[in-house]
Amino acid sequence: MFLLKQRSSLPGFHLALGYTVFYLSLIVLIPLSTLFIKSSSLDWKTFIDIVSAPRTLAAIRLSFSTAFVAASVNVFFGFMIAWVLARYRFPGKKIIDALIDFPFALPTAVAGIALTALYSPHGWVGRYLYSWGIESAYSPLGITLALIFIGLPFVVRTIEPVIQELDPELEEAAASLGAGRWQTFGRVLFPVLLPPLLTGFNLAFARGIAEYGSIIFIAGNMPGKTEIAPLLIITKLEQFDYTGATAIAVVMLTISFILLAITNFLQWWASKRIGIN
């Protein structure tokens, strides 16, 4: 028989499960399903037309590709920052630690304005980049920069506790068995860190796809070039094209769902290998 519950001394399973389902339905499932219901008022051909319009395709492609690149960059540098914070003691560590959370707390529009001021052709950083021919604002690069800023804490905060809990004895054991530093990292530490890295990637990626506030200032918002999908949705809403907006939303939702399902599966697979779950 399919066992729903293992006997446990803690009461409240049915109540907690019921509440969870109810709450998730109210907060997540019902709003999402209205999205599908709304878009189903479109007939199939109009839906395809809206979704396959060059402007829509470009926006969706831009949103996913910048989010992907930003999340990848964050995994790499976020890992380094988390490692330094977890492993070393140095003056000013507390301050750096607090700074990591900054993108969480900052209103995204403020972040967007600050980044634009920095990377625009006359900004502090932008003026040098532009003189080398690098368009740091009003370009996909600018969007990516904003998403890196927004996504960093997700990666750092998911990996840091795992690094802290790594037993230094594992590294010592590897060294006493003749492994070099890179071998120790690749064979002993990395496999354990892979699941949280994937989780961090997942979160940063998901956040990047959904990000709006910080991007619209730095993106330039040229249709077909630097217009992200969430902005396109807003534009359609402002033109009272509700069904058009929901059609794009449904596509984004579907793609996001598939991508997150894949990364979740990878993460489950990686955790299973190291004996978590």
Partner: protein, 352 residues
């Protein structure tokens, strides 16, 4: 390989973990570092392995200074207290780890590695669990895997940090006998850290008793147990009773009982005597002038020996152990008057 420790000191912040330690370890010896926690035994082991760097002093392997040698080049097998097995690798891969990370020109072929690992698994009598993961095993099994993993790279020295520390009593006993037999087969120079005197006495060829970062005594189990160098060693290895004796004309007295102590200084006034529980002889009648009159306070006949708590006329309380056969013959009961004579005194000091 022989190991020489020369004047090694180590301080952590303000805590002096090791204070100018000198120690020679012969090739093929099984040596126990015994001491209470904080005595510096684990620090000494880690310095020998190269996991910790000494503030002063030298570690010589076969007469050669190891200062420039990194952990990975020391050919030292280290078994950690909590095993430090790689949880994402199977038992087989754990043991093969040291073989797989070798530089390419020294690395064995896959087939050779397989053969070697299976050989080690047979040696530790766990041939059937090669494909399992460490978290699926019991503590005793993990300990043996950790040992096999350390042995796979054919180290010249085997270092074990509290190898049986986190196992339950039954498994502990089995594993330490197993370690003894294992060492007799391989004859690899081995050091293990323990705070359990019974373990050290049972397993080691030689025991190093440590306290507060210093060596108190180095000797065979027999030497440290029967001829302790000082009070600390005496107290740390087994139970001991303390008596305060008067000294008159070079003879020690406990109450009216005269205790024969060789080499007692003529001018001394008092002496402290330390007597192990099995060194008493208990009788119903006084034997001669050396018998001490006492009363039995409690009697515990459960166990391989009978433990009797006694109180002497002079007010000293002490514990004696007699064999079950003696007990059957004498049939002491609580409150009985018992005459006690000292067969031997383990250790004494005198004050002038």
């Amino acid at each position: 390989m022989s190991i020489e420790v020369k004047g090694v000191s180590k301080t952590f912040d303000t805590f002096k973990a090791l204070d100018r330690v000198d120690l020679n370890i012969e090739t093929g010896e099984l040596l126990a570092l015994l001491g209470p926690s904080g005595s510096g035994k684990t620090t000494l082991l880690r310095i020998i392995a190269g996991l910790e760097v000494a503030d002063e002093g030298q570690i010589l392997f076969h007469g050669e200074d190891t200062k420039e040698r990194k952990v990975k080049d020391r050919q030292v097998g280290f078994v950690f207290q909590h095993y430090a097995l790689f949880r994402h690798m199977t038992v087989f891969e754990n043991i093969a780890f040291g073989l797989r990370v070798k530089p390419k020109h020294l690395r064995l072929s896959d087939a050779q590695i397989k053969e070697k690992v299976h050989g080690l698994l047979r040696l530790i009598q766990l041939d059937y669990i090669g494909e399992r993961y460490p978290w699926q095993l019991s503590g005793g099994q993990r300990q043996r895997i950790a040992l096999a993993r350390a042995l796979a790279v054919e180290p010249k020295v085997l270092l074990l940090d509290e190898p049986f520390g986190s196992l339950d009593a039954q498994v502990r006993k089995e594993l330490r006998q197993w370690l003894r037999r294992f060492h007799d087969q391989l004859h690899i120079t081995s050091l293990f850290v323990t705070h359990d005197q019974e373990e050290a006495l049972e397993v080691a060829d030689k025991i190093v008793v440590m306290n507060k970062g210093r060596l108190e005594q180095v000797g065979t189990p027999e030497e440290v147990y029967h001829k302790p160098a000082n009070k600390f060693v005496l107290n740390f290895l087994g139970n001991v009773n303390f008596f305060h004796a008067r000294v008159v004309d070079g003879k020690a007295y406990l109450g009216n009982a005269m205790i024969d102590l060789p080499d007692l200084h003529k001018n001394s006034k008092t002496a402290s005597l330390f007597v192990r529980p099995h060194q008493f002889e208990l009788t119903r009648q006084p034997k001669d002038g050396s018998s001490l009159k006492a009363v039995a306070l409690t009697i515990n006949p459960a166990g391989s020996v009978v433990k009797i708590d006694l109180k002497s006329e002079g007010g000293d309380t002490f514990q004696a152990e007699i064999t079950q056969e003696e007990f059957q013959a004498l049939r002491f009961q609580k409150g009985d008057t018992i005459y006690v004579s000292l067969r031997q005194v383990t250790y004494y000091e005198y004050e002038i």
